[in-house]
Assembly symmetry: C2
Homo-oligomer: 173 residues x 2
DNA sequence: TATAATTGTTATGGACCATATCAAATATCG
DNA sequence: CGATATTTGATATGGTCCATAACAATTATA
């Protein structure tokens, strides 16, 4: 299969260069070739993560919860009575950076710091009633708007397989 | 190494609370329950992404290339003769933030900005010889150290399935 | 030709992440 | 017991990445 006879090497491959791209006279700007980039797991992983977070924020707009805040509420609900260091470290948040995050949640009356009676250095974390209520609504939003859309896109089985592989990477890589 | 056998059992449920966790007398700090967090795709996705980037940086330590820098080199190699706006935007990098990134690569003589003769506003991007050589070595490192480890962890078929699903999310979500 | 749009760039502010340091409280050990 | 070390929450600070506004030079458009 001989492709073309005259214009074989004569320029106009998608990215030729400084002398001859005429978008003005021509048509579209000719999309770039991603090439090996689309095979790089790190690249695709990052882009997918950004999309998922973006969608998460949209779904949670009415509750004004970021992914990090949501994860804190979830973890405190599941582990009431733990202190800041424990909650922060299992989320991979450094203690200094956890302070402002908690200040925010506490100022919105979603969770509370309680001085521990055992160890008066530490602050025990608990959800307030409002925090529990907001979290319940957040869970519903995530399930119906966020995760549902992922299921729709990938299918239930694929979504679970994806979760399993990502967990493996997160834990064993 | 005398193991005290008296305080073996403490009858504490994992998250009991402010009245009675005695790590001092007891054993381990009792790991927290992730609960629904481990089912949140966004959470697992983010953690996996961090792990993958971290490993990428380790593999590239000898070449001092970040994921972003590597992606720029890959894209410029595949699309020589494009300007900054085109390269940056297909990578999701805003033009202002792309300047410093390019300054870095250019100062290391990995790529070059060339004033276009068509449009003297734009800078055409090309890899230098050194840039091509470094990128070739980088590709080898990524293939043998980075992606190989992922294949080892997931298996070839699963790795490809993972890539496919992430691409779907990145593009269609 | 006058006006609008584009390109690379600078300046700037916000969000997130990491380290050092501190006071208060507790643990450890002589 | 008491001196020292460690832990906890907190502050200060710096780095990186991300986003917006603005600008000069250049090009496109009305």
């Amino acid at each position: 299969m001989t492709v073309s006879k005259t214009a074989e090497k004569s320029s106009e491959k998608p990215g030729d260069a400084a002398k001859g791209r005429k978008d003005a006279t021509d048509g579209q700007p000719e999309a770039l070739q991603l090439g090996e980039l689309s095979e790089q797991l790190g690249y695709v992983l990052k882009r997918a993560q950004l999309k998922v977070f973006e969608n998460f924020l949209r779904c949670m707009a009415s509750l004004q919860l970021t992914p990090a805040q949501f994860s804190v509420l979830l973890l405190v609900e599941k582990n009431p009575g733990r202190n800041q260091t424990e909650i922060a470290s299992t989320l991979g948040i450094l203690r200094p950076n956890f302070v402002a995050l908690l200040d925010n949640l506490e100022s919105r009356d979603l969770c509370a710091r309680i001085r521990s009676t055992n160890d008066r250095r530490s602050h025990i974390l608990v959800l307030t009633d409002k925090g529990k209520a907001v979290l319940a609504r957040a869970k519903k939003l995530v399930a119906t708007k966020h995760e549902a859309r992922l299921n729709e896109l990938l299918g239930q089985a694929n979504r679970e397989a994806l979760l399993g592989m990502l967990s493996k990477i997160a834990n064993e890589f």
